[in-house]
Structures are given as C-alpha cells and as structure tokens.
C-alpha cells in the first residue's frame, strides 16, 4: 500500500495531465470543479488515469455518484433530501460531506469535491481491493 504522499503525487500527476493545470495548483484543499475547472467529461478521464496509475478498477459513478444526483427519489427542488444524503455518505465514505449537508444543492457536490477527497477515495479503493 503506497503512502499518503505517494498517493497524493500520483493523484496530482493524473490531475495535471487530465486538466492541464500546473503542479502547484493541485493542493489537497483545491476543489476539482471550483478551483481546477474540471468538467463532467474530465471525471471519466481522471478515473481512467487513476485506474492505470494505481492498477485499480473504478466503476461508473463510484467516484462521483451522478445516479443519486439525478434520482427523483433523492432529489427534490434541486436539493438532495435526507435519504439522498444518507445514500451519498454510504457511497462516498471517502468524502467530507459536512459542508455539502449545510446547503445540499445538487451542483454544490461537484463544486466542493477536493483533491484530498480524491486521495481518500484512492486510499479507500486500495484498502478494500
């Protein structure tokens, strides 16, 4: 199992290649969409790179569960309801959702996902592989 620093370096490399950003822009606190301008298509590109870099398999929606965010059972008036929050926590144990819970507008989730969350996601995948 690689160290946290090694995971961060590989995640950074994947983000630099996928998003065309500079090394120093990729900090643990940087948000993928807000700070690094990742768009939806970039998430799939990032997933491909992480799979290759860490030799892991990432299923569709595992990193970013768009299926929950588009499910009327979990979203009302553009906001994720309690059941949706519970589902997100179950599916995203690697992410800190406390900020999102305060204002669970669907678009906020992508805006608030950070590089640190992504590193935790990889750690989680490696630990459960």
């Amino acid at each position: 199992m690689p160290s946290q620093e090694e995971i961060f370096e590989k995640v950074r490399e994947a983000l630099v290649d996928a998003l065309g950003v500079e090394d120093d822009e990729v900090t643990p606190e940087a948000t993928l969409q807000g700070d690094l301008d990742a768009e939806s298509i970039d998430f799939l590109d990032i997933v491909f790179r992480l799979e290759k870099s860490f030799d892991i398999k990432i299923e569709r929606g595992e990193l970013f569960p768009e299926d929950i965010l588009t499910d009327a059972e979990y979203v009302q008036d553009g906001k994720v309801n309690e059941a949706g929050i519970a589902k997100l926590k179950e599916r995203m144990p690697f992410a800190d959702l406390s900020k999102f819970e305060a204002d669970p507008v669907v678009q906020n989730l992508g805006q608030q996902l950070t590089v640190r969350d992504m590193c935790r996601f990889v750690e989680h995948k490696l630990a459960t592989a």
Partner: protein, 216 residues
C-alpha cells in the same frame, strides 16, 4: 467539400491499434485560406483526422452500435508544418477501453518526422444517443459507406488475426438502401457485402506492381 480527414486505413486491429494515411492536397479548399500564399495543414484538422481514425477504432470495439463522440482532447502537441504534397501517417494506440468511454494516444508522422501527438478521449453516449433530437443526420448506411471508403474491412482484423467483415455488424438499415436512388441502382451494400469481401474493384483494376516504363 466532404468531412473526411483520413484517406485510408493501412492497419486496423480491433480494440488495439490502427494506422491511417492522410494525403494533403492543394485541391483542398481550406488550404487556400490557411494560409493565403503559404498553404499548410491546420493543426485542428490534423487533430480531427486523428480523432476520426481513433473514433472508428473505438466505435468498432463497441460494434458500431451507437454514437461515440470525441469528448476531450486531453493533450495535443505540434512540431512543424505539413504542406501540400506530403502524406501524414496517423498511428492510434488504445490506452483504455471501458463500457463508458475510451482513451487513445495518437501520433501524426510525415515520413520519419513526428508532426503531432495527442491524447484523445471518447465518450460513449449509450442511451442518451437514442433520444430523438430532430432528424438524424448520420445513418447506418452513411457509416457503412465511410467504413468501406477508408478500407476498414480491407485491412481490419481482430487481435487473433481473423478478418473484420461488414456482415458482422448491424450496419445495414433494412429496406432503406434499396429505396435510395444511386445505391438502389447498384444493389444495396447489405446484399453485396463489403467491397473488400468481394473485391470486384481490386479484380478489375489490380495494382500495377511493375515500375512505370517510359512512354512508348
């Protein structure tokens, strides 16, 4: 002007790699604007050529069943100029193929010289592509025609070396080709199989392998 930015495949290995040629000609309209008095192939159209070659390779892997779109150019670098009279060789290597998308590395060479490299990312549209959004502009017979024009079924093989054949795919729109003017006169492609399988043009016009002799 037709939106064909590769002329012919010379190699096509399902799910792995492809090589395609693009001959740059002063007969192409765009070269007279790019640039006036100094024609050279625009990098954007070199990228489009690599995307067409890569897109067909990826699309074949999915059985040509649905739309595969160029989702993203992750990287593209250009190293020089390509002028009329030169031929580019596009080489495509598949990096990743998944049910939801694919990534390829593409290069464009002129002779031994590397002209461009790119990383291209294709998204599979899946069910989204089946939603009606106005009249369809690109139908199966257009795709089949394109595949035949660029020689996919002439050189295409699976990794085990077996040939790719147009009849392996659901490309013929039943009944529609027979209703279409010029194609109907020639018999539908579905009935004829691909040109490569029957090879009538190759038989009628075999390549002249001997060097040209002087006019007698």
């Amino acid at each position: 002007m037709r939106w064909f930015w590769i002329d012919r495949f010379t190699e096509f290995v399902s799910g792995e790699r492809a090589t395609a040629l693009k001959c740059v000609s002063l007969g192409e309209d765009h070269l007279h604007d790019h640039l006036p008095g100094y024609p050279m192939m625009p990098g954007s159209l070199v990228t489009e050529g690599m995307a067409q070659a890569g897109g067909l390779l990826v699309s074949e892997y999915y059985g040509f069943n649905e739309l595969v779109v160029l989702g993203k150019i992750s990287q593209a670098r250009f190293h020089g100029r390509v002028r009329p009279g030169q031929t580019m060789t596009y080489q495509i290597e598949v990096d990743t193929l998944r049910p939801d998308g694919a990534a390829v590395t593409a290069t464009a060479q002129v002779g031994e010289k590397c002209h461009a490299t790119a990383q291209l990312f294709f998204a599979r549209m899946g069910d989204a592509s089946q939603q009606p959004r106005g009249p369809r502009l690109f139908r199966n017979h257009n795709l089949l025609n394109w595949l035949n024009l660029v020689g996919v079924f002439e050189v295409g093989v699976r990794p085990d070396g077996t040939r790719l054949r147009s009849s392996d795919y659901s490309l013929a729109e039943r009944g529609s080709l027979a209703e279409r003017g010029s194609l109907a006169e020639r018999g539908s492609l579905a009935e004829r199989g691909s040109l490569a399988e029957r090879g009538p043009l190759d038989e009628a016009l075999p390549d002249k392998e001997a060097p040209c002799a002087g006019a007698s």
